[in-house]
């Protein structure tokens, strides 16, 4: 039963090539606010490592690994504040399931998912006719292709094609999201087996990214508490901060358990309602954890936590930029309630 642990270990070890083990954030810092906000070369490297096909079934040419392996990888990438849009790319590959061109399959061309119809909503069906508008497209600035999800299915469109318009806007973490308008009369719509499942997997993956990010932020903060002195004492010896730090650890471990046990349940198979309830539970915790970490990291670091010079500043900016993507805690609390009432009915 525990083959996944070995798989996950290997994947996480290989991740060190992209997110260095020494934890240096120089690459991350350098890419901020310079479009596209990430490195297409590193993205291609990610493709070379096979990660983009991680969750794609073997019959579609993917690795067919489960959500536990996927979550393990995303935790490692979150720890490294990876700016490349991996969750969105995984979703795009999952939706198109091996049907894209080779340059997309292997990551030389960045393909991200364009699915979201409205802010803080998981609706993706879009309008059945007329222009298609997709919001909050991660990594849009550097993407050469988009997997556009709508009621009709999924369409692979290329940046620069007629009728494809992308406007980008910077996030606080220095990456850029995009708004995609597809006014081309009729792209080729491919059928999608289970878009809801794919989206739930993306939500879970993004939660794992937030877990890794939060873990990193908490580690940096604990390090600071050990060395920073006030009133001739390391501030980590002050009981009020100790008790708050213990709460960070509690929330971190709750989030980790929720993610990996939910991933295991998804791998075993769940009804749509139970899956929605479980995944929304996870995303609520992960978003809450990231924001709690951000608040406490700033407060415990004091003024330095509000600057962009310190590593913790990068972590905080990443947290506030990413916590609500794939749905805010508010959205997911409501979704959890509705889905669990339905599955209990």
């Amino acid at each position: 039963m525990d083959g996944w642990i070995e798989n996950a270990r290997m994947i996480v070890e290989s991740a060190a090539a992209i997110v260095p083990e020494d934890g240096g954030l120089d690459r991350v810092r350098a890419l901020r606010f310079a479009s596209p906000g990430y490195s297409p070369e590193v993205f291609a490297e990610i493709g070379t490592m096979g990660w983009l096909q991680l969750a794609v079934p073997e019959r579609d040419g993917g690795a067919g690994l489960g959500m536990r392996e996927c979550a393990s990888l995303l935790v490692a990438l979150g720890r490294g504040l990876l700016p490349e849009p991996v969750v969105s790319a995984l979703l795009a590959q999952r939706l198109t399931a091996g049907r894209a061109d080779t340059d997309i399959l292997d990551g030389r061309t960045v393909m991200v998912a364009a699915w979201q119809d409205r802010t803080d909503s998981l609706d993706f069906a879009g309008p059945a006719g007329g222009d298609i508008l997709k919001l909050h497209v991660d990594g849009a600035a550097g993407a050469g292709a988009f997997a556009v999800l709508a009621e009709q299915g999924v369409a692979i469109v290329r940046a620069g094609e007629p009728g494809v318009r992308v406007e980008t806007a910077a996030l606080q973490d220095g990456t850029f999201e995009g708004t995609l308008t597809l006014s081309a009369g009729n792209p080729e719509w491919l059928p999608v087996a289970d878009a809801d499942l794919a989206l739930d997997e993306a939500i879970l993956s993004h939660s794992a990214y937030l877990l890794g990010l939060s873990e990193r932020g908490i580690e940096i903060t604990l390090d600071y508490l050990r060395v920073r002195k006030q009133f001739d004492q390391p501030i980590g010896s002050f009981q009020a901060l100790q008790h708050r730090a213990s709460e960070l650890k509690i929330q971190l471990e709750l989030c980790r358990a929720a993610i990996f046990r939910t991933a295991a349940r998804l791998d075993a198979g769940l009804s749509a309602d139970r899956r929605a309830a479980a995944v929304s539970r996870v995303k609520t915790r992960a978003a809450g954890l990231a924001m709690l970490m951000a608040r406490e990291a700033v407060q415990m670091h004091g003024a330095i936590g509000t600057t962009e010079e310190a590593d913790i500043g990068l972590v905080v900016a990443k947290a506030i930029s990413q916590a609500n993507r794939y749905g805010s805690a508010r959205l997911h609390r409501n979704r959890h309630f509705d889905a669990s009432e339905r599955s209990a009915a």
């Binding site: 604990l222 508490l225 050990r226 004492q233 390391p234 980590g236 010896s237 009981q239 100790q242 008790h243 730090a245 213990s246 650890k249 509690i250 471990e253 709750l254 989030c255 358990a257 929720a258 990996f260 046990r261 939910t262 539970r281 609520t284 915790r285 609390r333 409501n334 959890h336 309630f337 669990s340």
Partner: protein, 396 residues
Amino acid sequence: MTQHQAAGAFPAQSLPDFEAMSDEDFRQTVRRFVEAKYPDIPRFSQHRLRWDEVKPWYGVLSAEGWICPTWPRAFGGMGLGPGKHLILIEEFERFGCARVHDIGPVMLGPLLMKFGTQAQKDFYLPRILSGEDIWAQGYSEPDAGSDLASLRTRAVRDGDAWVIDGQKTWTTLGMDANRIFILARTDPSVKKQAGISFLLVPMDAPGVTVRPIRNLEGHAEFCEVFFDAVRVPLDSLVGGENEGWAIAKALLGHERVFIGAPRLSGNALARLRYLAEARDVFDDPALQDRYTRLKLDVEDLSDLFEAYVDKLRGGETIGPDVAILKIFQSELYQRISDEMMELAGATAGMREPEDGDPRKHAAGTWLAARPTTIFGGSTEVMRNMMARYVLDLPTR
């Protein structure tokens, strides 16, 4: 002093090898057991039953050989590992079985097996199995609650006896016990943890006085125990002289995990919902939102709890981070009870359950939730310990 039945009143029988059963078979076995054998005493009680009430259930468990689930079969236990034990607990709780007076089975038995002499094991273990001895734990003192190292009860060697003077408090159901194990200072010249010994004391020894403490619900679950020149034989010492601290802090194995089980919070959440539906306000989206926050906490706690149980099953060592479970569980239980109080409106403060229905009894839940953050290591002390041993933060 409560009367106890004669030795051997509950002769144990030979038992099947439970660990060899599948989990599901074992679960069914337990379920049939409680359905067939649970006596006519209260179920789902929110407070601990007194000995006179719970004695029939202790008797059944003893007679069937089920009173000490985790003891090795060679010692008269069921020989359950953590996974099976959890199933037993779950099924007992599903049925609403009362909690028996379990200090002997849970605490003293394992300690004697590890630290006791052969004579101590031979004498005391059967008496726990039979229910002849009901034990109380005497650790806390008026000035040493979470801080056991500063306890003041003293034991002085005088000829063939230890002479004990002092006071213990917050002794759970001490009025029902016929024996008590205590920590006493036997070397006052050293400080703190050193110089403390572990002693066994009969409650009917001359000089022992018991005074019940009533809690806010009017129940006497705790008592004070006074020792005035109480003499016990020298062989009442467990482990070495001045080595009692090591015994007291000896790991309780998987009990440390189970104390953080999500059931108290889960039960409280079910009562919160029940009350909301009874009041016809569960369709209030604001209430649903707060309910959902609490529900998510309970479910995430369940996931974390199961992760620890998996570790136990896999034979992994449980570290000090297991405190997370107890801290979060107890505070969550309280938060749910707070919400229940707000929801109950003017009936929140009723002494007796509204309509005689305990599931609507907000004050009962609120009060029952209070000691969980105080006993078994207060939340404050556990957070201190986490800072030091889990987070590696500096001490002052």
